[in-house]
């Protein structure tokens, strides 16, 4: 076969595999979630991610000096007057207006932004599913695929960090104004792309994990068949 044909053929095989893996992903995810401990693990990871995400955005706000009682009675909640209009009003790409403030302690307040909660939940869910699938795969193919499946869990890390890109200037300022001054002009134009990239990467990791799990299951099945055949041969009378 000439090279162009070979390339086209390979691309076709790759596309078929990708399609098959994408189709198989919900089944594998469901399989992982049918185990209670992975389900709980995924939920815990998603919630922790959501909390960190909202903290990074400043929606979960901690004041070490306990300043919130200067602005509201504690505990109390205040809804902004035209909250229906503001519910999905964007302040910046992927950053939405809070529609309420909940003052829980003089040191702790929660600014409720519907858009931010939905985005953080979505990213958290993707991360939780990745972790659940990785753990499930690790348990299923413990003997032959352990390194591969944990590697896929670790592979989520960069995309996990990208999810926080929307609050990059805040993080950079925390590193110091000098560092921020050199990095902010680079980060700001990229910011609009980083969060979709994080979601795409985490979705991709999920499909990749499912594909590896599928391949490992196939290998395991083949090994079992081979073992059974060997046993049958061993039991058969000698000729």
């Amino acid at each position: 076969m000439t090279r162009p044909y070979e390339l086209v053929a390979r691309l076709g095989v790759g596309a078929d595999e990708l399609f098959a893996a994408t189709r198989a992903t919900p089944r594998h995810v469901w399989g992982a979630l049918s185990v209670r401990r992975y389900r709980v693990g995924a939920a815990a990871v998603a919630l922790v991610y959501l909390a960190l995400y909202l903290f990074a955005l400043g929606d979960v706000d901690v004041s070490t000096s306990g300043r919130f009682d200067r602005f509201a009675s504690i505990p109390s909640a205040q809804v902004v007057p035209d909250w229906q209009e503001k519910a999905f009003a964007a302040r910046a790409p992927f950053l939405y207006e809070p529609v309420a403030a909940v003052y829980l302690l003089p040191q702790l307040a929660f600014f409720v932004s519907v858009g931010n909660i939905l985005l953080g939940s979505g990213l958290g869910l993707l991360l939780g599913l990745n972790v659940a699938l990785a753990l499930h795969a690790a348990a299923r193919v413990q003997s032959c695929r352990r390194r591969g499946v944990y590697a896929s869990a670790l592979g989520v890390l960069p995309s996990f960090l990208l999810g926080f890109a929307c609050c990059a200037p805040t993080f950079l300022l925390a590193l110091g104004a000098n560092v921020a001054a050199s990095l902010v002009p680079i980060f700001l134009p990229l910011r609009s792309f980083l969060l979709p990239l994080a979601a795409a990467l985490m979705g991709g990791m999920l499909v990749w994990s499912a594909r590896r799990l599928q391949a490992a299951e196939r290998e395991l099945a083949a090994l079992r068949l081979e073992a059974a055949a060997t046993r049958r041969r061993g039991l058969a009378p000698a000729q």
Binding site: R70, P98, A101, A109, P169, L173, P185, R191
Partner: protein, 343 residues
């Protein structure tokens, strides 16, 4: 290299920074995104004001921007403005009080659309030389705060009338103006008032520290005459621009100088810990001041730091305020590289 130039007899010596002033198109082509979207830092459109005794959310050392008009005083807390940057207020007449945290500048504007409607403003989310770029809702023209002139849109080239505010602390402002009203944090938006995303003024730190560089690129070359964020009092008089180091005004108490041909005098008002700049003219006469002396040598009248003659033949008269504002040096220089400097 600066060219030393004496600007007036008896006045302060100024240094002329070389550089032609950028054109409106230069500014327009240097607009960059600051991160937030259009209106993402929302202007306050229905400001509520509290009496001083009800403003329990303020602490003594909190920064406020003060404005007095017709004997009535208003304080705009920095901890509220840092989240909104613009207050479309009515204070005797429609005024927009604007604050840019990245250039440390606060000024009120009065402007009208071609059809006579007063202009109201919101933030574009963009910056020019790190400075707030506003748009007016009536004509959708874009105005950098420090320039006070539209750089694009139907009003391109038009200018806004500038009304200076002063920087003070709540304790000092309240003592000087016990009847002051204060902008309430009840703005119609949920924000973490009391926290500052950029740094801190008390003590000075984070982005506001004088030696830290600006976050965003600025036009032209860097001037090393002062630290990036050294506070200067920027003065506009016709086409002339002068930057006076604020600490110098504090040290001297009274600082006479000229901008173009306009005789000016900067007073340090210890009561509210702020610098004010006035035209040193009264009753059609130029008044000569000497450094550190509130008594003018022309009429023999003694003036208060708020610009009112307290004793002498001109008692009861008021000096006309110049167009001035506190601003970080790097931003003033980026907008007005032709500026003269008083160290």
């Amino acid at each position: 290299m600066g060219i030393w130039r004496a600007v007036s007899d008896g006045g302060e010596t100024a240094v002329r920074e070389p550089g032609a002033p950028p054109t409106l198109d230069d500014f327009a082509s240097n607009v960059i995104s600051g991160g937030p979207g259009r209106g993402g830092i929302p202007a306050i459109n229905r400001p509520e004001f509290l009496f001083a005794e009800r403003a329990t959310f303020l602490q003594d050392d909190d920064l406020v921007f003060g404005l007095v008009r017709d004997g009535e005083a208003r304080a705009y807390p920095q901890l509220v403005l840092v989240w909104h940057e613009i207050v479309n207020d009515v204070f005797g007449e429609p005024l927009a009080v604007t604050y840019c945290p990245l250039t440390g500048s606060v000024v009120a504007f009065r402007g009208t659309a071609p059809d006579g409607r007063p202009l109201t403003f919101n933030t574009t989310g963009k910056l020019v030389n790190s400075n707030l770029l506003m748009f007016d809702r009536e004509t959708d023209s874009e105005w950098p705060q420090l320039l006070a002139r539209a750089i694009s849109g139907p009003q391109k080239g038009a200018a806004l009338a500038e009304i200076p505010l002063v920087w003070s602390t709540w304790e000092r402002w309240r003592a000087a103006h016990p009847d002051t009203r204060v902008l309430s944090p009840n703005t119609g938006f949920a924000r973490s008032y009391g926290s500052d995303p950029y740094g801190s003024y008390m003590p000075l730190g984070g982005y506001y520290h004088p030696t830290t560089p600006p976050l965003f690129p600025v036009m032209g070359r860097r001037s090393r005459r002062f630290d990036h964020k050294e506070v200067v009092v920027g003065v506009k008089a016709g086409e002339a621009r002068v930057a006076v180091k604020k600490l110098t005004v504090e040290r001297q108490g009274v600082l006479p100088f000229e901008a173009g041909r306009m005789p000016l005098v900067a007073f340090w008002d210890e009561g509210v810990a702020t610098a004010r700049v006035f035209e040193s003219r009264a009753s059609g006469r130029r008044l000569r001041f000497r450094r550190g002396n509130l008594r003018d040598a022309t009429s023999g009248s003694t003036w208060s730091p708020a610009g009112e003659a307290e004793k002498g033949p001109l008692a009861g008269q008021r000096l006309r305020p110049a167009v001035f504002l506190d601003v970080m040096w790097f931003a003033w220089f980026a907008f007005f590289p032709q500026t003269e400097v008083i160290r």
